[in-house]
Assembly symmetry: C3
Homo-oligomer: 427 residues x 3
Amino acid sequence: MSDQLTQRILGELESLVLIDPHTHINPHSAASTTLADIMGYHYYTELAHSAGLPREQIEEPGLDPKEKVGRIVTKLGALENTVQVSWLLEICREFFDFDGVALTEDNWEAVYDRAAEKMAQPDWEQQVLKKSNLEKVFLTNDFDDPLTGFDTSLYIPCLRTDDLVFHFTKAETRERLQKATGASVSDAASFRSAIGSLFEHFTKNGARACAISLPPDFSPRKIENSAVEPVLQSVLRGDEVNTVDADTLSCFAFWTLAEFCAEYSLPFDLMIGVNRRVYEAGVFQGQDLFDKRTSLILYRELFNAFPQVTFPISVLAQTSNQELVSYAWIFPNVITNGHWWYSNIPAFIEQDCRSRLQAVPKTKQVGYYSDMYKLEFALPKFGMYRRILAKVLAQDFVIDLGWSEERAVELGRLNLRGNVEDIFKID
Amino acid sequence: MSDQLTQRILGELESLVLIDPHTHINPHSAASTTLADIMGYHYYTELAHSAGLPREQIEEPGLDPKEKVGRIVTKLGALENTVQVSWLLEICREFFDFDGVALTEDNWEAVYDRAAEKMAQPDWEQQVLKKSNLEKVFLTNDFDDPLTGFDTSLYIPCLRTDDLVFHFTKAETRERLQKATGASVSDAASFRSAIGSLFEHFTKNGARACAISLPPDFSPRKIENSAVEPVLQSVLRGDEVNTVDADTLSCFAFWTLAEFCAEYSLPFDLMIGVNRRVYEAGVFQGQDLFDKRTSLILYRELFNAFPQVTFPISVLAQTSNQELVSYAWIFPNVITNGHWWYSNIPAFIEQDCRSRLQAVPKTKQVGYYSDMYKLEFALPKFGMYRRILAKVLAQDFVIDLGWSEERAVELGRLNLRGNVEDIFKID
Amino acid sequence: MSDQLTQRILGELESLVLIDPHTHINPHSAASTTLADIMGYHYYTELAHSAGLPREQIEEPGLDPKEKVGRIVTKLGALENTVQVSWLLEICREFFDFDGVALTEDNWEAVYDRAAEKMAQPDWEQQVLKKSNLEKVFLTNDFDDPLTGFDTSLYIPCLRTDDLVFHFTKAETRERLQKATGASVSDAASFRSAIGSLFEHFTKNGARACAISLPPDFSPRKIENSAVEPVLQSVLRGDEVNTVDADTLSCFAFWTLAEFCAEYSLPFDLMIGVNRRVYEAGVFQGQDLFDKRTSLILYRELFNAFPQVTFPISVLAQTSNQELVSYAWIFPNVITNGHWWYSNIPAFIEQDCRSRLQAVPKTKQVGYYSDMYKLEFALPKFGMYRRILAKVLAQDFVIDLGWSEERAVELGRLNLRGNVEDIFKID
């Protein structure tokens, strides 16, 4: 009975048209062209490498896409238990008519060819969007992205700012900023004004969020121009800066971004907790990990200073979920945002989803985003989340609290779609 | 079958007469007089504020109670998913004959009026106690509370000591202490003796516990008189003290409290992990949060130094639960105590309850306290806990371990009632 | 239906012949001789002490085994809820024909006598191994263990190295090393070569792992000979060393162990997170606890430096599980290893087992080890784990992902047995 209830709720949630509020889609090449685009997703390359496939075999220069898939397939057996492989199989079944229980060395070539055939159809991108019930897809754009040549009402720009905050010490970043803004940074004021022109450019082109990923020990604070000026001058001269000075510059840039988020009414997505390049011999995008010893108390000054800025927050460590729930329960400007990366597996999503639904105002929760690089992943990833959400709605609300199914579905609708519209101001 | 089993166990647990071992009840005004007393609970004001209601509207000076409720009701829809609103509805249903699914702008006035009518009955307090199966209720008394004018066998005094430990640097605290004890503090010895006279006063009046809430970075240690003396003299002169000196003074006061707990055989409730005033623009009592980076290892010296003192411990961070389980499993003087504040939602209670029942001696667990400010909340809060406890007893003990229902109910009885009597020495 | 499915999977898992990859068995006295060997396990003594039994009564010099059991039995009622007591009862039922619901002051003597009778049978050890389906049992050997007088193909040696890393500052450890290797340590080079000869001795005698338990703040790093030399000379002179120098020496010894693990192709079991002697007045082996504020990021340099060494990792804090899952998902040389000590209760195992199966390659997980001191404990401990594993396989794989039962059982087999063979190279 509880199972049938869950299925009915799930059926309703599956009929929803989605807006995916965070992805890494390239709008000029949103869908895949071969199965190598699917299986080149870092989840498969890093897990295959973790299970013993040498990086050199995965990332051999000039490697043919089909050969690459063939090599990864040799390790799929060792990964068959992972939820990530279940996404791959769901993609193969839903999009490529696959009906096996596993992708093996015996059957993968037929799937590869069938996929290539389907992907070659001129309307493949539209087919994927339609089958996945996707209406709009948020992007992750470099700050110097011209934002031209694609439909910004379908692919919604988002200003990604990691480079500005953590890599402005690199000449390359400064050159990119100069090129993008047409103005050179010579001091704190001109740095600020360059950032301002990025906001102008992005919001003119329909951007709906500013975003950044942050290491676990980052603690934003306001830095006065006078305090950052000597550091900035040193950086502009090309000097090496120590970690204290680099942190001062990072905090200045970050705080400036928050100020412009306020000015341009842009939500500021904070993705908290990643240490980059922990495993330097790992595959591309398979090198980052985390230190769970972090706290949202590090953001105390920020949340208090910017009551007018909405902060949708993702935490990498599952042990940060209760803090996120509690901070969103107390701070009007803190929003819970999806289930990120190492927390994006059913065992953690279920606990996190449950606690958020029990204690955070329903209007302050963005249920899920796919974080995908290729369009085909929205279907299995949202599918995974919806099944968990349906289960929680059935058990915690209909059964335990006596809610009607309609009301539970309505809560799910807000969680999956309505809040994305409201929080990111999608018309 | 498992559901019916759970229901039968729940039925037995519901028949228990309770002692609530931690509340903030004002014994001179224990029950509510209007629905504004219920909905003025910080859970509703802070959640309504989090969902967008300005603090100024909630806390407008001279605001009429009915108007206040009307304003909060406008935001209840946004909070309807929270467990806190489920408590509110259960109160309205159980006490005020409400039969709707939600409190809305259309129906709240009738409920308000009906509540006012019921609350005006001269025996309302007794009605609530009876309907809630409440026999005794622990208080949280300021150290200078005269403890007069109420029945201390019903409302059991508890010496709350936050001010003595963390605010003795304030002149106001020192004046209150002088007034309460009739003696002035001029050095470490007279500070100690003033504290001693508080214990004398409280235990004479039936106090059954000393209690304190502690920030996540507090680490108690023994301070010699000679080490605290210069700090104390500086404080008594009205000097500003630095954080290191303030911590020395806090540790001295705290350790002195533990010594008197030993002398007077009083359990010392430690409520560990709260950061005060993190969100300073928040509503009254809706400003505190936490830093999960804390550990019970900070209490190592204390637990070793006072084997004769019982420490019922509450942790604010759910990630501290396993430490609490493990420390209670090893230290004879450590007791697990309830599910506190940000950990007091079903998703966390269930995990914490389960692990405690699996690994802590059954005699060392205080299952639940309501933490309520008004009597009406015991019913839904204990109700929530009992439903979870019944589920865990049914699944983990009767089904998984083959226990009889009677034995499982007996375990639940100890957890809910028996241990409170034994640990706090209630006759 | 789901229950029957779980039971069928469990039945298959129960038929597996096990290799227990971590125990504290004494191969010269592997099985118990009286019930005091069973109830002398620190879980019972420390829990009985926690529930009020004075250490002096438990550890009275010259105490008769039967009298000791009688004393502990007086406290079993207070512990009857714990999973540890459920192991005890399962042992009494499965091995000693006990059919009661609890061991009490009224019935324990008969059980004691019956146990003594069974244990006196000459083939008792073989009976236990057979009934427990145990084929091989890993030991925890002191570095100076001669490894003689037992069958190393049944009881597999494992080089335990805590003393070398954390107690080389003690003269006793240095004397033991000299005696074991026949060579004296006079500098870094001879310390290294002494450690090398231990690896030679252990691997010649069939050792299949090197192991160590580590405090939560330990952070391994490479130490050059020149940096350790002055510290080592100071230690060899018998000087007291400060904590910084002691840490340098510990890191040197640890890193040297990892180098020899590489040279001898031995997995290096890391058991991370224990603080020793936190409760110094506790019973034997009942004094250790932990500080959850630790992170696997502390092992970053180690994991990168030794790609050729396999690190099966156990974490003491349950809040470290997600890090372990993520590090094993990224680093090819990190393996998840069992459920250790304070994390070894069903409430935690279930969450940890589920997340590992969902995100770590199936070939990189050692499901469980018993950590036992006496053979009789393998049966209830593996029994507890298998029941949880069967439940997770049924729910997450067969029901949620549509796997066949056969495939789910195959995954369980790998988790319980196959990976132990592969990772520890058992023929």
